[in-house]
Amino acid sequence: MSRSKGLARTIGFTMASLLLLSGCSALGSSEVRERGVSARDTKIVLSNVETVSTLELLQQKTTPPARVRMPDLGIDMRVEAHGIESDGYMSLPESPFVAGWYAYGSAPDSRTGATVIAAHVDSLPEGIGPFAGLRESREGMTITVTDDAGEVHDYRVVSVERIDKDEVPLDRVFTATGDPHLVLVTCGGEYDWRGAGQYLDNYIVTAEKVA
């Protein structure tokens, strides 16, 4: 493969620009979703640090998750790859005892984004599944995902939310950007007996990657 000498040029960051370049916004901790150019200027200096060629992005392969464990809640489940059903919703294993990984999103060894793993909270044939325990998650709990290659990825819970399904920020849950992290999703809250025959809320557990 021919390589340009120009791409061996170095790129670097000053300490100040590290803050601007991470997901931690220099604009403060308040949620800033809609904005023009920020009131505070963004200045980034790139100089004199070794960089890797971006050509490697053409060959990036990721490894699907195989198992998810959350010892505090007694969760230990096989994970299988899933996509989207014809109705547009995420496809899931029928059994609440098997978890589904959203295969059109990030994997645990991706450079960025959310690895989304979901499971039914219950089913009529099989009863209540392990993800029913997600509502008891607490900040700091450990979640471990083992991938198809046997690699172990550790996460720590940072957020547990119960959100009306109509209000779930799907772009955030399924984001491809940001530090690699894990999002576990199931259903819960009030059950709509008369109407849809489904739960009204999603439980969403977000965990940062620690190893």
């Binding site: 390589r3 340009s4 120009g6 791409l7 040029r9 997901g23 931690c24 901790s29 949620e31 800033v32 809609e34 904005r35 150019v37 200027d41 200045k43 980034i44 200096v45 790139l46 100089s47 050509l55 053409l58 060959q59 990036q60 919703y89 995420m90 005892f97 959203y102 059109y104 999103g105 960025t112 979901a118 499971a119 039914h120 219950d122 089913s123 099989e126 209540i128 392990p130 029913a132 900040e139 940072v158 957020s159 547990v160 939310e161 119960r162 959100i163 209000e167 779930v168 799907l170 955030r172 399924f174 950007t177 940001g178 999703v185 199931t186 819960g188 809250g189 059950y191 025959g197 977000t206």
Partner: protein
């Protein structure tokens, strides 16, 4: 209000642990801008909107934009921009000479890539603005975007000798909307027997746009500047439960419907029709 933060941080403060970076998809009201420096030999300073965003000492081969990570450069300020005109000035870092000065017009809902590159055949400094495609025609597809931004004649894109796109001339782009797969031995050249830019085997994940910008000549070599936009395919929701066994509503446990379903299940289990798992922590 039914929505609750049960533990830890909520959505609004996930930004403080770097987990709520702007979503890759543009919104109806904002635009995203990616910048690619594909002009060999010149380190530049880029000034946007009279200093609102400045990128200094940008070397050839850099791709910068919202949500990008190493080996690209993440610049979240380039995401979620309000529509309008943004003045862009590019100067040569070495001597402050001006290479480019013009307004970039941004429309809401559009994702742009602004590429600094040489013209063909003169090799003059120019800037081309492309719009990034963010949808695939089929779930399970990805996109390979190839942009001719090098000082070289028209090329087509091949995989193992099969033509995939082209011919493309300087300033053109081709977008392949294809199944996620590994495409073997991908290269660009004037014909199938003359590879000018070799990319190797290209692995295209589902729901990802791999954007490839031709680079060169640098000395005698040609290469490419690459970045990716993921998350093109997002579900409409996660329907993860259907039996009502963990209902937390007012009717749970006491309503006729809840009692009725529970009673039915008990009858079915007793009759051996349904086998119920009793333990939450069953392992398989």
């Amino acid at each position: 209000m039914r929505n609750r933060i049960l533990a830890g941080l909520g959505a609004a403060t996930l930004a403080t642990v770097g987990l709520a970076a702007p979503a890759n998809a543009v919104t109806d009201e904002t635009a995203d801008v990616y910048i690619v420096h594909a002009f060999p030999g010149a380190t530049v300073d880029i000034n946007i909107a009279s200093g609102a965003i400045t990128l200094d000492d940008v070397g050839p081969g850099v791709a910068a934009g919202p949500g990008l990570a190493s080996p690209n450069v993440g610049v979240d300020a380039l995401g979620g921009l309000a529509p309008g005109d943004y003045n862009v000035v590019i100067t040569n870092t070495a001597d402050d000479s001006e290479l480019f000065n013009d307004d970039l017009s941004l429309e809401a809902g559009v994702s742009y890539t602004v590429v600094a590159h040489p013209t063909e055949p003169a090799g003059d400094f120019t800037v081309s603005v492309f719009e990034n495609q963010l949808t695939t025609s089929e779930v399970g597809n990805g996109l390979i975007t190839v942009r001719h931004t090098a000082n070289v004649g028209a090329v087509s894109v091949f995989s193992d000798g099969t033509e995939l796109a082209g011919p493309l001339s300087n300033g053109d782009e081709g977008v392949l909307d294809v199944a996620a797969a590994t495409y073997p031995n991908v290269y660009a050249g004037p014909d199938a027997d003359t590879p000018a830019i070799e990319l190797g085997d290209v692995t295209l994940p589902a729901g990802t746009n791999i954007l490839v910008h031709a680079f060169g000549p640098d000395g005698e070599d040609f290469s490419a500047v690459v970045f990716t936009i993921g998350g093109l395919t997002t579900p409409d929701g996660v329907p993860a439960g259907s039996a009502g066994l963990v209902d937390e509503g007012a009717g749970a446990g006491f309503g006729w419907a809840a009692g009725g379903a529970a009673l039915l299940l008990m009858v079915l289990v007793a009759a051996g029709i349904l086998v119920r798992r009793q333990t939450v922590s069953a392992q398989r």
